[in-house]
């Protein structure tokens, strides 16, 4: 944990930067210009009256676009895009403050949190807050007193307090803050994404008993921040006032892409996938759901907040997929008030979850009651209580689907679409991207490439595929980020061409049938755009850190590591080696994986037997002809983590 003292708010008196230098409105008609937007999140706001985030009775919808760095402002009443304004580099999430007038938007490319005042036709950036690198998610506590920003590749969460109202008043008055306010930066043992502020009765009791907090004005606040792993199944609980991690526990889960608190406040809903450690990627295990399950998991909040409790106590799994319709890649989830028409108020009320791999929205309570076709790759769902409608952000066709109660021909749910604007003809990269995230490329839509290679990275688990030529030999799922030059491919180096690996994966893992050559080319084109992930501590190294890294670099050379892990591009080589390891089928020669982005991996060696990077050397003596001293080991690990 690193408290940032005296972090100043960067004031921007003018509006955000727009493409053609115009002000905060859409004078250039950006929403009518063909370009790729990739919307990823949305929030309701009301320029005229108060509302609450995500369950607001606000009237307008703000959609943040990842690729274009713009926001699309939508009037749901007229179902029209009223404006599109480019305000950043690569927008990743949005949350509304309780006043309903102000939005907080994360910019992943510029490492900023934008404070935005939107109206029907404008989006005025009134402030920018520097965050740890790669912010991807922002949440606001119900009372608006705390903001949390999850920063993916830097493994950090920034918690802003004591009150965002101060932030707003200072920035809206366009004057420097008289006093700085505090930000807790919490370092996590995983890459974070989804978050939620939760409160518990026990916590309230503690607060009532006068437990002191560093935020002097927040002595009565009783809440915690729950943060989920972006790739694997870890869940952290943080005391936001103290900036302290209370627990980090694991779930049998990966790709946790949706998190919501139930309407009754008693349960935490997570949408995620489960990869069986024992299943194979053969047709039958895919068909019967043995390989991959797509679920909503209900956790008891009391258990979540009890650091000593087993997270699975009192938990329940709702299976979204079934034979014939696998429901790949569940994403954004929202809990909706149980009074909604047609939905029985059973227990904790109904929910909606985006099935991003099969372009559907699932609705259910104890089980799935409906699946509705929406747009391509739905990621986020926003519930509008005043209209009894959900807005589904569909990333791959730049659209919003409106799902309304009673609007269907059978009196059930009706779906209509709002395109955010014209799109240009898809490039090979974009066609390949579509195939990569399309769960319908697999038999019955159980999984997509993204299911195991999240956003091109890895979920850090083992999979028993035919890539190594055999079943019964599960191997660590490799990251595809930065893999374009890391030939050959596969743990046994079986594939000399990336095209061959892609074709084999679609056929023997997804069971999509044969992918045609142009489609393989498109997927390869997409994979070629995936850069290696940055080191966790990029931009945070001190002088001492750099000196240690340099010592590690020299050791790396001196120990002969460069023979197989050749710098500088991939730290790999186009050969296979016997390094004293053996798999279940007797394979002894392995393709050295690229070392780029090593700090972003959770397990090492072909079967993940090394839980930590240091274990590769301490427990498995990987290619060492002598023992390393503690200092040497630390330096070597520091260097490897800097790649």
């Amino acid at each position: 944990m690193k408290p940032f003292a005296c972090l100043s708010v960067l004031l921007v008196g003018l509006s955000g930067v727009v493409l053609d230098g115009a002000a905060s409105d859409d004078l250039a008609g950006l929403h009518q210009t063909p370009h790729v937007r990739r919307p990823v999140a949305a929030a309701l706001y009301d320029a005229e009256q108060r509302g609450r985030d995500r369950r607001s009775d606000g009237r307008l919808l703000c959609v943040v676009n990842h690729r274009s760095g713009s926001v699309s402002l939508i009037d749901p009443e007229t179902r029209r895009v009223t404006a599109e304004v480019q305000i950043g580099g690569s927008l990743s999430d949005v949350a509304a403050l309780p006043d309903g007038k102000t939005l907080l938007i994360t910019d992943q490319a510029r490492h900023e949190l934008l404070v935005v005042h939107p109206s029907a036709a404008k989006a005025e950036v009134i402030g920018r807050v520097a965050t740890p690198r790669y912010p991807v998610n922002v949440v606001v506590s119900d009372d608006g007193r705390l903001v949390a920003v999850a920063c993916l590749w830097s493994h950090r969460v920034a918690i802003l307090g004591p009150t965002t109202n101060d932030l707003i008043s200072q920035t809206s008055q366009k004057k420097s803050p008289e006093s700085s306010w505090d930000v807790h930066v919490v370092r996590l043992p995983f890459a974070p994404r989804m978050q939620a502020f939760v409160s518990g009765a026990a916590l309230t009791q503690q607060a009532a008993e006068g437990e002191r907090t560093p935020f002097a004005e927040d002595a009565a606040v009783a809440r915690r921040l729950v943060v989920a792993d972006a790739f694997g199944g870890k869940l952290a609980v943080i005391d936001p006032q103290a900036g302290r991690i209370e627990s980090v526990r694991g779930l049998p889960a990966h790709n946790i892409r949706g998190m919501a608190v139930s309407v009754d406040g008693e349960r935490l809903l997570l949408s995620h996938q489960v990869l069986s450690p024992h299943a194979r990627t053969d047709y039958n295990d895919v068909l019967w759901g043995n390989l991959m399950q797509n679920v909503v998991r209900e956790l008891s909040l009391g258990v979540v907040l009890d650091a000593d409790a087993d997270l699975l106590d009192g938990s329940r799994v709702i299976r979204l997929g079934e034979v014939g319709n696998g429901a790949a890649d569940p994403a954004g989830i929202v809990a909706i008030p149980p009074q909604a028409h047609g939905l029985q108020p059973v227990g904790l009320g109904p929910w909606m979850v985006a099935l991003s791999g099969v372009d559907e929205l699932a609705v259910g309570t104890r089980s799935v009651s409906a699946k509705l076709d929406v747009g391509l790759r739905p990621l986020d769902v926003v519930w509008d209580g005043s209209r009894r409608a959900a807005y589904v952000v569909c990333s791959h066709d730049d659209s919003i689907a409106i799902v309304e109660e009673g609007a269907g021909s059978d009196g059930e749910w009706g779906v209509s679409r709002i395109p955010l604007g014209p799109q240009p003809a898809a490039t090979p990269r974009e066609r390949g991207e579509r195939l990569f995230f399309d769960g319908r490329q697999s038999h019955d839509g159980w999984l997509s490439c993204h299911s195991c290679h999240t956003e091109g990275h890895t979920i850090g688990e083992l999979a028993d595929t035919l890539s190594d030529g055999s079943y019964g030999t599960p191997k660590l799922i490799l990251s595809l980020l930065g893999s374009r030059d890391a030939n050959p491919w596969g743990w046994n180096g079986r594939f000399r061409e990336l095209h061959a690996q892609v074709s084999a994966s679609f056929t023997s893992t997804l069971h999509a049938g044969t992918l045609h050559a142009p489609e393989v080319n498109d997927v390869v084109a997409f994979l070629h755009t995936l850069a290696p992930p940055p080191p966790v501590d990029e931009g945070m190294w001190t002088g001492a850190d750099r000196a240690q890294i340099e010592r590690g670099c020299q050791l790396f050379a001196g120990l002969g590591c460069r023979t197989c892990h050749v710098p500088p591009l991939t730290y790999s080589i186009d050969l296979v080696f016997d390094v004293g390891l053996r798999d279940e089928a007797g394979l002894t020669k392995f393709n050295p994986p690229t070392l780029r982005g090593l700090s972003q991996r959770s397990r090492f060696l072909h079967d993940g037997r090394a839980a930590k990077l240091a274990d590769v050397f301490i427990e498995h003596g990987h290619q060492l002809d002598r023992e390393l001293s503690p200092d040497e080991l630390a330096a070597l690990v520091a260097f490897l983590r800097s790649l």
């Binding site: 069986s276 024992h278 039958n284 295990d285 068909l287 019967w288 043995n290 299976r319 104890r366 279940e584």
Partner: protein
Amino acid sequence: MVKNQLQCPCLVLLAATCVFADEDAISVSHETDASAARLMAAVRVIEREHYDPPPRQELVHRLMRRLAARFNIPVPPGLGRELSAITDDTKLEEAFAEFYRDLMERSSSNPDIPSLPAVEKTVLRDLVNSLPGPNVVRTRKQHVVDQQFANNQYVGTGVSLMIFEELPQIGSVVENGPAHKAGAKDRDLILEIDGEGTKGMRIEDVVDRLRGPAGSAVTVKLEQPNSYEVRELTITRGVVPLRHTRLLDRRDGPMVIVIEKLTAATVQELREIEEQLGDSSEEVVLHINSGGASDLHHAVLLADALLDGGEIGRARTTSGVREFTASRDCLFRDHPIKMQVWGYTSGPAEWIVAALQDNGRATIVGQRTAGQPFVTEAYEVPGTDWVLELTYRVLERADGRRLLRTRTRPSPEKPHAVMLRSSDGRKAPVFVQNRSDDHDGGVVPDETVPAVVLEYEQAPTQISPIEPPTEGVKSLREQLLRGGSTPE
């Protein structure tokens, strides 16, 4: 010259006779050598893949003894010693081939000699049966069907068959299967298959005619037993949705789940049952009706699905041991589980029971299991139509404790039965009588019970009203049974 000329035709005739006679002999010799080669190919597969194969010389010795028995020829004394002395594989194979040829020559005058294919099949089956564990010889066609059943992907029409008054009859139609969708009903008599009358057909021939690749069609003429209405249906063959896991509807007592057969679909079927149970947390009684050989992979999936973390167990082969650990997700998390076992519970089912017992996940009820924790795998024999299902692993508990029994003696206890009884009083025995042997392997139950009787609700069968035949019209069935041409 003349003498020579006179002699030549005789010589030619003799030579010709010898050539023809030699051709027969050569042909038989070739066939025998080919048969010997196939049997040796099977020996090599056994030696390589079986978890505990006898030495190759012993395998060949067994083959020779069985061949001799089939040809009613005594085994030469000292044969075993002679074979043991042969350490070169090529020489061993030559010795076997020579022995086989010799047997054939000595039996050539015996009119009762069985055909070579029949001998080959019988001898191989005897050899495979003599190996430790459950081992079976299948044809490739049979193996394909076995695999389809194991993966719950059986392709066909989806009917069970019997013979009724010289005609094949549908015993039951699988719900939502191809035949069901086409309109076939339980107890339909099959009068024609693709235009061919079925009177007198063996049931195997009916099966062969009804089976076919997915997407292909078969046309049948059907008639209910008490009706004269002939229905012509075209059935498009496809995957038949079989269920091998049943939730028994009990009038009182805990929910009973019977896993009749462990397949790739078992965990999915259990998920669907779990969903039916809703929010209850009542006890679940689980019964795996699985003996003998099953797929280890499916057993691992099931064990993983039932356990909330912990060690599952170990699988041992000649080359080492593989350990399996369960993940944290589990079915019936809030339900106490009772697992019923009995003396025929064996193979991977026995292993799963042990895993649940060792992890405290279930109370084991019944009788000591069989102590035969074998797993088989199918291996094609190159150059033949055979697939050998061989015991290739022995399963153990996670801590290495043996499940395999080594000592057996008959029990003085009377046999018991596990039966199901329907609410209308009919008994439907599910399992054959138990023989409770006393041995040192298997899983000892936490609670020993002599017998279990389960009752379930049986829905009464609805029979459609009978339409009287039109006067003067002969039914197709009558014509088939009494002869005459098949009417259009």
